[in-house]
Point group: C2
Chain length 345, copies 2
DNA sequence: CTGAAAGCGCTTACAG
DNA sequence: CTGAAAGCGCTTACAG
């Protein structure tokens, strides 16, 4: 018995008619914004079920000035961690009934960044998550109105009132200390370019080295072309003092190992090599890679939840939650690519 | 000289006032839906620039019954190919000024799938992309109104009027033929569960085997726990007739190699092993892995473009584009993990 | 507790 | 070419 318009998706008027109440009453029922008599509640519930009515996201968004959606801004859209973060955040959003949007900031000019962000904001998202990976992120932070719920993933402590970050620096320290604890007197670090923040693997490595009283620290930066790391491995193979390397990620680690082997250096017998990220392939490597495992899915989920708390508070007219910087712990995975140095015992 | 309301983001009324024209005229200017005099055009343009006005996505969506956004539905949100697909589609959408949403279907019950889809649709997306990975996708297809622009990624030819698919089957055939061409008399296949469609790597392998007149085909299915593949590798190591394996993906390939090695079997000297997907780590493997490279980023972008063509046609009141099934080609990457069998020449 | 009214920002017929 | 009017589907004061 389709009411009013006979076609397409039912709207609030349809359920109001079918239930024999006014439209605002249905709205109140839906949002719990005011008491509705038991009797009408039931009729409305029935009508909704009968019609399979779903409130329109966009009409609500227009009336409320805000949509039940969040958008994640990222500038490293194809990076492994980004995938995990997005997935974690998206699932959390979905489970709360929020639409989840992604907008990438890579591959566009600086001028376009502003208009891209404005476009995102013109969809009235309830909040935005900025996933830091480079300078762009910080620039972006300033372009988002202060009253828009926001959480920053990564960055330096204090870059934003609400942050979720991986234990990057801690991870760098832990890996380095593991190597040092094995008896290595020096740990060479090879890393990709890192974000402009104070929570990097490289800084953790420096922390550990400094605490161990080691002065001569050697770090090499490599790009995303793995051949570069292979080359570096070949070169490092001829350093007689080399006994341990902490690579900034697993791909770099296996590439270095490849280079070392090309020159007849054995891992871990001659040189220990640790990676970072504990990717799936790492445990299959020969030798299985010592690495640091970071749960980026949890990180993404935590970011959404922190955002959601702000959104809820704002809607309820409550004061904003206290600023927070949550660190998601990772953990060291010791495998066979690291061992005590030959001349240790 | 801020017009009307003095605060927050400007709306169309503000630019109309500032330009000294009516609101509909601004709208016409914006959408090019009717001629606007040169003089007014200029004034409007100026006002827009001055105010940094951006039309509201949601108001437009309400008036037009459709939002400048597309949503991608996926049930394999953390899979490698999914990342690439999403990234490709998102960039293409962004470049067209479309918002891009992702909704995952994994981890929810069958009942919830319908309501999740309804929720997505209640945001009036201009179109949706369904990324096939399992039976869920096909189920989803039927829940989307016929008049909603839609493109299916993957699936069997004919599952939907508009499809973009990887050359999976072709890839399976090419890899197998490569192995056969090297002189192998049999190619054992090890694969993960595959989608319920007729475009799978496994079918390509069967095609090639059949064409080569090989009857005794052996296929093994493994799960996502790589240890299972290692085990299988150990077991296969004792098969005296084994000379070549086509693994359904690179992770499986390296795990099999690990198992083979555990039993003293050398790759490629004793057994050739090929992977699939050509992941970054594959070329760094020891030995570097022969694999099939598929550009999933392009695939995602192509899916969006195909969707966009439908959206445009619909908006212009034109007939829908002709149904299309576009195949994105991949290519064979021959490396050292495959070689002629020992007793070949 | 519950209607009638007005409004969110934009677009589309309808009359000039 | 261009206004005034009505409407998209929902919500929020305003009066009962």
């Amino acid at each position: 018995m389709p009411p009013s318009g006979n076609r397409s998706t039912p709207v609030i008027k349809d359920v109001a008619q079918l239930a024999g109440v006014s439209v605002p009453t249905v709205s109140r029922y839906l949002n719990g914004t005011a008491k509705v008599s038991q009797e009408k509640r039931e009729k409305i519930a029935q009508a909704i079920k009968l019609l399979d009515y779903k409130p329109s996201f966009v009409a609500r968004a227009l009336a409320n000035k805000v949509m039940d959606s969040v958008t994640l801004l990222t500038s490293l859209s194809r990076y492994w961690a980004t995938t995990e973060i997005n997935s974690g955040a998206e699932h959390a959003a979905r489970d709360r009934g929020f639409l989840f949007g992604v907008t990438s900031l890579d591959g566009i000019s600086d001028d376009e960044i502003e208009s891209t962000i404005n476009r995102v904001l013109s969809a009235n998202p309830a909040g935005v998550i900025v996933s830091e990976s480079d300078e762009i992120a910080i620039q972006v932070l300033h372009q988002i109105p202060k009253d828009t719920p926001l959480v920053l993933i990564g960055g330096s402590r204090g870059d934003a009132p609400y942050q979720v970050m991986p234990s990057e620096r801690e991870g760098g320290r832990v890996i380095t200390e593991h190597l040092l604890g094995l008896g290595h007197r020096n740990v060479v670090h090879v890393h990709r370019p890192e974000g402009p923040n104070n929570n990097t693997r490289t800084l953790g490595w420096r922390d550990a080295m400094r605490d161990a009283g080691i002065q001569a620290v050697e770090a090499y930066q490599v790009g995303s072309d793995l051949e570069e790391s292979v080359e570096l491995g070949r070169k490092l193979a001829h350093d007689p003092n080399l006994t341990a390397i902490f690579a900034g990620n697993d791909e770099t680690a296996i590439s270095l190992i490849k280079g070392l082997r090309d020159e007849g250096v054995h891992v871990p017998e001659d040189v220990s090599v640790a990676g970072y990220n504990d990717q799936l392939f790492s445990r299959m490597w020969d030798p299985p890679l010592t690495s640091y495992s970071q749960n980026f899915v949890d990180l993404g989920a935590a970011a959404f939840e922190m955002l959601y708390a702000q959104i809820e508070a704002k809607r309820a007219g409550n004061p904003a939650p206290a600023p927070e910087c949550r660190v998601i712990e990772g953990r060291l995975m010791v495998r066979d690519s690291t061992a005590a140095p030959r001349n240790a015992a």
